[in-house]
Symmetry: C2
Subunit: 471 residues, 2 copies
């Protein structure tokens, strides 16, 4: 598809419609992404301060056929925020729309503009004595508009759901500049099609999210956290079921960790203390968030005792202080950094129906074993069925000697995922990185419907071209 | 719009493509709905046994331009299941597609065909030691496909969400007969647009849901239920916040009841025992579902004590037996029947941002008071902000003497709802009954997007014409 460029004339015309200082050349950080796979070609950076300014920008781009790349915190992992090549798009950053418009502890709603940094939304909720539970590694940089556009997940999905589940309403600017004022605060509203959920996870290809009304929750009064050794993934699944029978929705995180993660952590961060002398092959890091009625009951000790009896665990440590709890989480949260230092050949963010996970781990490991000597690091949000199943070179060797295998390895792993009824992108989205995967594994009728909807809402195809669909 | 009719030739042609006994004249019950507001004109009843047969029917209707009315249990309250007038549609009943295709307690997923009666889905989950929490008065007759098409709510939305929140994936036949195989069992899957949620709540206007994968939950080990007297709605909201701080998500139902409900129950069902000697002006029926760790702690007694101290309640009874618990719920669930016997002029199913409910009740009551002598019965799912705010004739008089006021009263109430940022249809949907309301109160940009999507997915406009949009 041929696009117009945001050339000097276009930029001048657009600038005349906006306050001064609304447009400038993009700094390098707007043209790069963390894994170095995509590099933006250029364009003009737009920094609107209000939904009306976003509307003006979109209307102008629409009329001229200039592509638009909506930009949140730039922390996306699938190249959704970068338009490479010769195109000169408008990079539409929402960073100046960072107001908390309102917050109400009684009805448990916060309304935040799309440019709010996720950590700031969390802080605003906390100051009101409430919890906004979306929690992920990049939260100090990611912006809520981007979190919604990608339906971000993170650590607390098990209990609170992902971005989609946390959103009550949206304010959206459509590709032609029209504004949909959908900032409902209602929990029940059956008055028409669910366009909110069409926009969430659309990765900037259908419109620009400018504000959102989000759910708040009671803050747990206390937490209990435990690092437990399990005999195998099957037992981990049984342990989760037992935990839920005992504690209901109090179970807020349940992470599966293979010994390879602990090995890489040893290698890359030898000063980070690990909970077990001998590295367990499989371990679980779990956390419960307690309401008042459950405080002081040592619920995880009780659970541990029951789990031991049923041979679902063989060893474990319940954190006895906040410091120890933070140390456990620090280990888990440092795994991606350790992986980066070791250097992966191919990283995967997949989900599998939970009861099929043990068989998937087996078959996936076999598929990787076909590539001689490659190692697997399997860890992730077991409670959601979401595993990172990442592939590394043999011990002591460098990923650059194996990068030629990246594509084959990826297809091998994703083919097994697909065979098991799973998803090739549990959390990270499609972006530009996984367009081929979507074409390969996506249901053809669904893909046709997606294209038809895209063509209806964005007939000029200016919204983030190259993301989600091939051009 | 002009539609072809399912005339004898069409019926014969379609019959030739299907097994014998797939088509017949519809019995009266397929042409009627419970409030007697819509009467079907006729048509042919189709009873497919498989998604492939549904596909054949849709393809044939699509080619011929014959309208289709998808039919679940027929319990919908907004005329979505009835096509009145001269049209001769295909009434597409899913009742023969009533298989539970699979159930898995470990991953907490059940896959049910659209024609499964809701109570049967609940029973299948129960037999597997799990809970399918969608629970509403009509559950013995409603079918899950209809529940999803209308995004049904019910008593447990506070804790478990509505039909939308309970659905992981769908199998859908599109207007042109294509089948979307979307029966995912995954809890995290960011691979494209959320078409599932487009179909849910679309009320049969975009496609035919033929099966769904649904979430299961741990069964609470025990319940505690209490009927509490509150000084006013404001206190009820405070009580809910206190309950959540104490008990987290264990709070599974929280119903507000005005004395008028108890008065009507006295009138219509004098043998139904009521919990309080003197009818309280405002009361709350609340329930908690306890996981093991919370059993035997008399959590509601503890809550009651704290609430008393904070003057959020003035009196109350905690059910001391299962029988008493059932009696409390029986009272609440009989309110609609009592209302029907007294005879309402206009019934409303609205939602309001929770913190605005006290002010809404005041202003809504004033608006009704402008119509001399009319009485309001206000009750409902306070925790979700969903109130039934129903209007009745003066005591001893008959609704038929006031039916001429129905439209004015409705607009008066809905205008106040709209002013308070609420919804004119919290649960029941739009159907044919509330098409005018949607046109009046719906955001114009949203409505335009809806029509564009409708025209894209159903270009011939054969899916449930007259529902959701005026023709």
């Amino acid at each position: 598809m041929n696009y117009s460029a945001a050339d000097p004339k276009f930029v001048a015309d657009l600038a005349a419609l906006l306050p001064p200082d609304s447009l400038r050349n993009p700094e390098p950080r707007y043209l790069e992404e963390s894994r170095g796979r995509f590099l933006g070609g250029g364009g003009v950076l737009a920094l609107p301060r209000s939904v009306d300014e976003v509307s003006i920008i979109m209307r102008t781009c629409h009329a001229a056929g200039v592509p638009v790349v909506p930009y949140g915190g730039g922390t996306g992992l699938v190249g959704g925020q970068i338009m490479p090549g010769h195109a000169q798009p408008v990079i539409l950053s929402l960073e100046r729309m960072s107001a908390i418009r309102s917050i109400n502890g009684a009805s448990n709603v916060i309304v935040a503009e799309a440019g709010c940094i996720l950590a700031d939304v969390q802080a605003a909720a906390d100051a009101e004595g409430r919890l906004f539970p979306l929690s992920l590694a990049a939260q100090g940089t990611a912006r809520i508009g981007g979190n919604l556009s990608t339906n971000a997940g993170g650590l607390n999905v098990l209990r609170y759901g992902n971005a989609r589940d946390l959103c009550l309403g949206l304010e959206v600017v459509l590709p032609n500049g029209e504004i949909w004022h959908g900032l409902s605060e209602l929990r029940k509203d059956n008055t028409g099609y669910d366009l909110k959920n069409l926009m969430i996870g659309a990765e900037g290809t259908l419109g620009v999210i400018t504000a959102a009304s989000l759910k708040l929750f009671s803050k747990p009064v206390a937490h209990e956290t435990a690092f437990l050794v399990v005999p195998d993934p099957e037992a981990a699944i049984g342990l989760l079921a037992l935990a839920r029978a005992q504690l209901g929705e109090a179970v807020s995180a349940f992470e599966l960790i293979h010994s390879r993660s602990l090995e890489f952590l040893s290698e890359a961060f030898p000063d980070l203390r690990q909970p077990f002398e001998e590295r367990p092959e499989w371990s679980v890091l779990m956390e419960v968030g307690l309401s008042k009625a459950l405080v002081g009951q040592d619920v995880l000790e009780v659970l541990f005792g029951e789990a031991l009896e049923r041979e679902l665990v063989t060893d474990g440590v319940v954190a006895s202080s906040e410091g120890q709890r933070q140390a456990f989480w620090s280990l888990r949260e440092t795994i991606p950094a350790a992986n980066k230092i070791v250097g992966s050949i191919s990283s995967h963010d997949v989900s599998i129906p939970i009861e099929r996970i043990p068989a998937f781990i087996e078959k996936g490991t076999q598929a990787v074993a076909a590539f001689e000597g490659l190692r697997v690091n399997c860890f992730g949000h077991l409670g959601d069925g979401n595993l990172h199943f990442n592939v590394f070179p043999p011990a002591g060797e460098n990923k650059s000697d194996y990068s030629h295998l990246q594509s084959e390895v990826k297809v091998a792993v994703h083919d097994v995922v697909h065979e098991f009824g799973g998803s090739f992108s549990a959390e990270h989205g499609v972006g530009r990185l996984k367009v081929d995967d979507l074409a390969r594994y996506g249901d053809p009728v669904k893909l046709a419907m997606m294209r038809a909807i895209k063509n209806t809402i964005d007939p000029k195809g200016i919204m983030n071209p190259g993301a989600m669909f091939s051009n």
